[in-house]
């Protein structure tokens, strides 16, 4: 397969790959924004004392983590119409990615919040701040720093997971490679080009993660005794 590797055919399909790259990029961004919203909500529920909020959030997170994205995607794609909700594929795809990644984001944020030392919270209590003031002024700004690197790690996972949307006829990067493979019977060309595009996205996010970490380290936080 490799000895006749045809760069010329790849250039012919390059516009398609460009389109797929852009599609993967924007739908990952939208899905990640959704995942953040879902994650923050779930995390807020999970940190409440009330079991009525905590338990559903916990169950949701466990079920999402223990089942494959494919099953979740089909659950939405074939399940929603039975409830009379017919949504465009793209929307369902983004919804599935957001709901899936949201569970992981919730765990990351929770870990970030719990990593703030008890003393910080007590200092807030002692100066008369309310629960929400403490959260907003003391805990969240510190938790935010801790969570940025793992959140970007989750973004990398999400970008790769978005490949699954090709199954419900959303055209994106993986789809471009499959087209090249099935039209021209050039699987090596198709998949290696796809992989190169994903690798580019990966390095972009990794650079972002590294520079954010450097930025966070430059701003003094300091673990005090």
């Amino acid at each position: 397969m490799l000895e006749n590797f045809s760069f010329r055919t790849i250039t012919e399909y390059l516009p398609l790959f460009g389109y797929g790259f852009a599609a993967t990029l924007w739908l990952s961004i939208v899905s990640f924004a959704g995942a953040l919203a879902v994650g923050i909500t779930l995390c807020a529920m999970n940190l409440q004392r009330s079991q009525a909020l905590k338990v559903p959030a916990k169950i949701y997170i466990d079920v999402i983590r223990a089942t494959p994205l494919l099953a979740q995607l089909y659950f939405l794609y074939f399940g929603l119409p039975r409830l009379g909700v017919v949504l465009p594929e793209l929307f369902i795809g983004i919804l599935a990615l957001s709901l899936n990644s949201g569970a992981y984001v919730a765990e990351i944020i929770r870990a970030g919040i719990l990593s703030i030392s008890r003393g910080q919270v007590e200092a807030g209590i002692a100066s008369g701040m309310t629960y929400f003031q403490r959260m907003r002024l003391v805990v969240l700004p510190q938790a935010f720093r801790v969570t940025i690197p793992p959140l970007l790690g989750q973004a990398i996972v999400l970008v790769k997971d978005s490949a699954l949307l090709s199954l419900i006829s959303v055209s994106e990067l993986t789809r471009a490679g499959q087209l090249l493979a099935s039209d021209r019977f050039m699987p090596a060309e198709g998949f290696i080009t796809t992989a190169a595009c994903y690798l580019a996205l990966y390095y972009g996010l990794k650079t972002l993660a590294a520079s954010s970490e450097r930025w966070l380290r430059l701003r003094p936080t300091g673990n005090l005794k």
Binding site: M1, S169, R175, Q178, S182, D183, F185
Partner: protein, 242 residues
């Protein structure tokens, strides 16, 4: 140098790459046994060669690489030998002809091909299949949705309302609607195209290609091909036993 046929004889095994794209060509029955029209033809080939047969089961994604990387000797699927594809693999003579058809949910407003031509109609097709190309030409204003994973999912999509109608190989559609209660779908009488279906080998397997063409001639002459197609494709007879 020894040809592929020599290799097969020496090995005592014919390696066939298949895709389980659904009835009537290739499927797995309830007991988990691989069967279908194309599968039985391949088994017949092995019998004539006097070797045993090994099926290698791939996704669409893995099918062509399996052939090109010599994991398999030949490829047995309901594949249309298009000219661009034939630049890469060697197709046999067609073993049957079929065509793409349009189907919709019975009783819906998409009762004819013209009705489906309306702008924005959602048409389900299989990714990379000839039906995809045909649909794009026939329904330029429609919203074409390509699915992966086999014909039955097109029926499911239409049945669930994710698509208004579907375009696929007529024999596949007829075979696959069997899983639904009779009268669930309307299948349009016209076919949009006429397509051959053929098996594929590599161009460096000329001896095998010649042999397979001869095989197809033979089974056509002695009626075994017709018997196979009558059982699997042209009737519902297989449903009683599988």
């Amino acid at each position: 140098s020894a040809g592929t046929l020599d290799d097969i004889t020496k090995r005592g095994e014919l390696r066939v790459a298949v895709q389980t794209q659904g009835p009537p060509f290739s499927m797995v029955d309830q007991a988990g046994k691989r069967t279908g029209s194309a599968v039985e033809l391949a088994e017949l080939m092995a019998k004539e060669m006097g070797v045993k047969i090994t099926f290698l089961d791939f996704d669409w994604d893995g099918l062509i690489p399996a052939l090109l990387s010599s994991k398999a000797d030949l490829l047995v699927a309901d594949m249309t030998p298009t000219l661009p594809r034939a630049m890469k693999v060697a197709f046999t003579k067609p073993f049957m002809f079929t065509g793409s058809t349009v189907f919709a949910k019975a009783g819906s407003k998409f009762g004819s091909i013209d009705a489906c031509k309306a702008a924005g109609t959602k048409i389900a097709v299989l990714l990379g299949a000839t039906g995809e190309k045909v649909a794009k030409e026939t329904f330029p204003d429609a919203d074409i949705k390509s699915y992966k994973g086999g014909g039955p999912l097109l029926l499911d999509a239409v049945n669930n309302g994710q698509a208004d109608c579907g375009v696929n190989d007529v024999s596949a559609v007829k075979g696959q609607q069997a899983a639904y209660p009779a009268g669930t779908f309307t299948i349009m009488p016209e076919t949009l195209s006429k397509e051959p279906l053929a098996f594929a080998t590599r161009y460096d397997e000329q001896d095998l290609l010649i042999w397979m063409n001869l095989f197809l001639d033979q089974v056509a002459l002695d009626g075994r091909l017709q018997k196979n197609l009558d059982y699997w494709v042209n009737s519902d007879a297989w449903k009683k036993e599988h």
